[in-house]
């Protein structure tokens, strides 16, 4: 194998820029998960009741479940197009460490699917009667949580990209693994929405989960992709 010309991080930057450029040309890839997020959140008052006291109780949970489902939906597209047109094989053969390239792709995916949810979450929280002061913690918890979801989900996406039954299988694999994220994220949001200062606790735990996921999942994703591409 020839020595690569560019450094791994420069290559990762190129992958990131490429993915962002592709997404901006296909804008619906970014907007569809947000619309889905808003729609799922709308289902809850319709299914339960529009009583303000109930909505205030369930608001944090609704935001989190909707964000979780929306990011599951977006995960499907993380590697599929690149596997189908052979880009991913070229990345594997490039001589660059695949884990770093995969991390760049996952970061791009989070910027495109996670950050829009972070920006949309105050809208949903307001619709569920949340106080305006807690938006910082709400958006922080969604930002940390969706980042962990993208990282863990990238392993699942890499494992299922080689099989024909993609979407449902992906959710079956990833949902049990991300339940701790849901627990701490919803807890932090709930405490913050009710003006409780102890919301920092679950937020720190979310942060430590992000660091753990950031350290370990790129290697698992790279290994899984190599298996899927065999």
């Amino acid at each position: 194998m020839n020595a690569p010309m560019t450094s791994p991080w420069a290559a990762a930057g190129l992958v990131l820029r490429r993915d962002l450029a592709l997404a901006f040309r296909r804008w619906e890839q970014v907007t569809h998960p947000v619309v889905f997020f808003l729609m799922v959140a709308t289902l809850f008052p319709l299914a339960l009741s529009p009583k303000p006291s109930l909505l205030a109780d369930i608001g944090a949970g609704v935001v989190w479940v909707s964000a979780l489902l929306s990011s599951m939906l977006a995960l499907e597209s993380l590697f599929r197009a690149d596997v189908e047109d052979g880009t991913l094989e070229q990345l594997t053969l490039s001589g660059q460490p695949l884990a770093i390239l995969v991390l760049a792709k996952t970061v791009a995916h989070w910027l495109l699917s996670g950050v829009p949810l972070v920006l949309a979450s105050p809208v949903v929280a307001t619709a569920f009667g949340a106080a305006g002061t807690a938006y910082g913690v709400l958006m922080g918890s969604i930002a940390l949580g969706t980042a962990v979801l993208s990282l863990i989900g990238s392993v699942g996406a890499a494992l299922t990209v080689g099989s024909r039954r993609g979407s449902v299988l992906l959710s079956l694999l990833v949902l049990p693994l991300v339940m701790p994220v849901l627990i701490f994220g919803a807890r932090a949001t709930d405490l913050a929405l009710h003006g409780d200062p102890s919301a920092a606790g679950p937020l720190w735990l979310l942060g430590s989960m992000l660091i753990l996921a950031l350290t370990l999942t790129p290697f698992a994703t790279a290994a899984a992709l190599r298996i899927s591409l065999e």
């Binding site: 863990i152 099989s163 949902l175 339940m179 899984a224």
Partner: protein, 251 residues
């Protein structure tokens, strides 16, 4: 070098197939004896609990099933990691053989827990920490099985599901602690805790017998299932045709 030859020998399918066949009675007979003794001791000899009456006796199935569901996940993930790192096909066969056993024990644990919860807590299901983490463990098993069945190529299925098992085993303690902090109503640890077990020996001994009996049962089931896996994977191999031919000639 010499220390590793037994390992390589053990990892060869023909050798292991023979060993597993020989080991089955050595696991199955103690399993039957221990479980019969344990269940008799638990259902007949042990006194009724002063609080829970006779309802507590389901613990003789419930607790060993819970232990086995965790043990099976550990065995599965360890075997998967070994198979992934050293590319040992037999380790993958063991992981594949263990998953359905573990899932069954997890389901048995949930079912007996639910039946036990009805008279004790007055409800079939509560969102208690241990129940919920057991349920998530069952989901992990089901996800593993689903991934295996999604691939037709057995080598790919082995390696992909192995990555999932390893990722899952890193996650199991996180799930356990997150769910514990989330909610807790289940009775605290009774058997293993500081200050000795909170059970009289007449209750405890049958329980220990059941723990060992269930563990032997798993070992016997695993041997049978690994044999079946080897048969399925090596169905075109010469040694298998020779072994079957020899047996056929003897009969």
């Amino acid at each position: 070098m010499g220390t590793w030859t037994w390992f390589h020998k053990l990892a060869s399918p023909p050798h292991f197939y023979r060993i597993a066949g020989k080991m089955i009675p050595w696991y199955a007979i103690p399993a039957v004896v221990l479980i019969v003794c344990g269940v008799y001791g638990g259902l007949v000899l042990a006194p009724a609990d002063y609080q829970q009456g006779d309802a507590f006796r389901i613990v003789y199935v419930h607790a060993p099933a819970a232990w086995l569901s965790l043990l099976c996940y550990t065995v599965m993930a360890t075997a998967a990691a070994v198979g992934l790192v050293w590319r040992i096909k037999l380790a993958h066969a063991l992981a594949a053989a263990t998953a359905p056993i573990g899932a069954s024990f997890a389901l048995l644990c949930l079912a007996t827990g639910s039946i036990w919860g009805r008279p004790m807590w007055g409800t079939w299901w509560t969102w208690d920490a241990r129940l919920t983490s057991q349920l998530i463990l069952l989901f992990l098993y089901l996800g593993y099985q689903a991934l295996r069945s999604a691939y037709d190529d057995i080598t790919k299925a082995d390696r992909a599901s192995a990555v999932l098992a390893v990722v899952g085993v890193v996650n199991v303690p996180i799930i356990h602690f997150s769910v514990t902090w989330w909610n807790s109503l289940h009775q605290g640890a009774t058997v293993i805790r500081a200050g000795g077990p909170a059970m009289p020996p007449s209750m405890l001994i049958p329980l220990i017998l059941c723990f060992f009996g269930f563990t032997f049962l798993y070992a016997a089931l695993a041997c049978v299932r690994v044999q079946a896996e080897v048969l399925r994977r090596e169905r075109n191999a010469h040694w298998l045709h020779d072994a079957m031919g020899a047996r056929g000639a003897k009969e």
